[in-house]
Amino acid sequence: MRKQKFCLTITTLVLVFLYLPILMLVISSFNDSRFGGLWSGFTLKWYERLWNEKNMWQAVTNSLIVAISATCVSTVLGTTAAFALHRYKSPMQKIHYSLIYTPLVIPDILMGISLLLFFVALNLHLSLFTVFIAHTTFCLTYVTMVMLSKLQHFDFSVVEAAQDLGADSWVVFRRVLLPLLAPGILAGALLAFTLSLDDFVITFFVAGQGATTLPIYVYSMIKFGSTPIINALSAVILIITFITVCITQSLTKE
């Protein structure tokens, strides 16, 4: 029993450790004072200023453009990749799997610098397009991994049943596979979307002038003198994250 208590204490302490900084940040976004330490009254003025921040809206737009396009492309590529990996066990799939898997075991910064060097070598102008390519590349891995685990738990006898009943492969895909795998595909797409929205390191390397995404905007605010506007922005992002996590959890629940 003592072991149980010890583990519970550690778990509680770690949760406090995880939440304390975030909570303090949200509280200070309502603080009238410019500096974090002292409380000088409740205010919503930082939220109002944030709302009127033009650059922030531009960054949000850029982030959404990249996230939506990278999610669409990586979901299609990742789903086909997962089908290929699940169904075939040829030597080609072994190489295919290592290509999919290796980005997971490589630090972000390496992917960032390697893509930057690649674009420099090609003389490609850095823009939102290069950011889109980078994001699709790392999202592809995650989407494939999610889809692969869904396919491993998928009961393929329904496909055989449909074939026995005379459905051709297009009908099987359209009427049987797609509807049944839709929650999995959606979960993969949501994962890709959140990863793309949140990525800073890789983006920082491949984003040129005028391709400021939301994380790059947040970073420059942290790095070069920040007003409490960033607290307000953080609070908003945290709440959106919380809602997204709840949706994802209910989608993936079996």
Partner: protein, 291 residues
């Protein structure tokens, strides 16, 4: 006919993702190694020909110090994260379903929330005017003029904070498959609680622990944003140097050489480990066949 059709199907399903990763992942990674041997001009360009100067410049003692710091900071982060994740994983695996779901959600949320914002949250807490600093000064734990920010301690703290969830999930996943009656059996047979923990539970979930180590160590060794935002000039890591060479000095061959070093220090142990595990699997199956 049918074999040809299956091959065509496989080919069509494989080619999109394969081509994408070949062009945008494999080739760029190989370029890192190539650029390390290229001379550069002072305008930030890359010139014709090949040189070994960049590789030789890695022998600089300053680099050695920085690499040593990167290694011990990332190892210590991994050690602390796994040590904290073990009791949490155990707790998660043992509690009632309802409490487990709540706890898991509570751990997942910070994990999903923006990486930069979590670092910023610590930066404000540790800031000289921040709440945490004020509290510590008030409690006479630290002196008013000790800086909590811009040192290796701050980097370590924020790295553990950021990467801890990466250690919790694999350990929990392994612990939830573990048969806890084995622990009771060990203790019935006279093992002390800690002996049962280290000799029965830990070997039982070693795969989860191994995944946790990899999941924390890899992002930690390549950390760039954390030492950049909460570290100082005496807590720079290899990631900072790569970014500095890229953005400030525009010396891409130097950045490549450092990146190549980082890539090798991650990929060689990974390849070795996967060789060892496949090898031990083979030996296991050989042994089983003999029985």
């Amino acid at each position: 006919m049918s074999i040809r059709k299956t091959f065509l199907d496989e080919f069509l399903l494989t080619i999109p993702s394969f081509t994408w990763l070949f062009v945008f992942f494999l080739i760029p990674t190989l370029i890192i190694f190539g650029y390390a041997f290229k001379p550069y001009d002072i305008y930030g360009g890359i010139t014709e020909g090949w040189t070994l100067d960049t590789i030789k410049s890695l022998a600089n003692p300053n680099y050695f110090l920085m690499i040593w710091r990167t290694l011990w900071l990332s190892s210590l982060t991994t050690l602390i994260s796994v040590a904290l994740a073990l009791p949490i994983g155990y707790q998660l695996a043992c509690t009632s379903k309802k409490l487990r779901q709540i706890l898991l959600l509570l751990i997942v949320v910070p994990f999903w929330s923006s990486f930069l914002i979590r670092i910023f949250a610590w930066k404000t807490l540790l800031h000289p005017e921040g709440a945490f600093k004020q509290f510590l000064v008030w409690a006479h734990i630290v002196n008013a003029d000790t800086s909590l920010l811009y040192n290796s301690g701050a980097v370590l703290l924020v790295m553990v904070y950021t990467y801890l969830p990466f250690a919790v999930f694999p350990i929990y996943a392994a612990a939830s498959k573990f048969n806890f009656q084995l622990l009771e059996a060990a203790m019935d047979l006279g093992a002390t609680r800690s002996r049962a923990f280290f000799h029965v539970l830990v070997p039982g979930i070693k795969k989860g622990i191994f995944t946790a180590v990899v999941m924390v160590f890899i992002p930690a060794i390549g950390a760039y944003v954390i030492p950049d935002l909460v570290g100082g000039s005496n807590s720079e890591m290899i990631g900072n140097k790569i970014a500095q060479r890229t953005f400030v000095e525009r010396n891409l061959p130097q950045a490549s050489a450092l990146s190549a070093l980082l890539a090798l220090s991650v990929l060689i142990p990974m390849a070795g480990l996967s060789y060892l595990t496949s090898r031990s699997k083979q030996l296991e199956s050989v042994a089983r066949n003999k029985e």
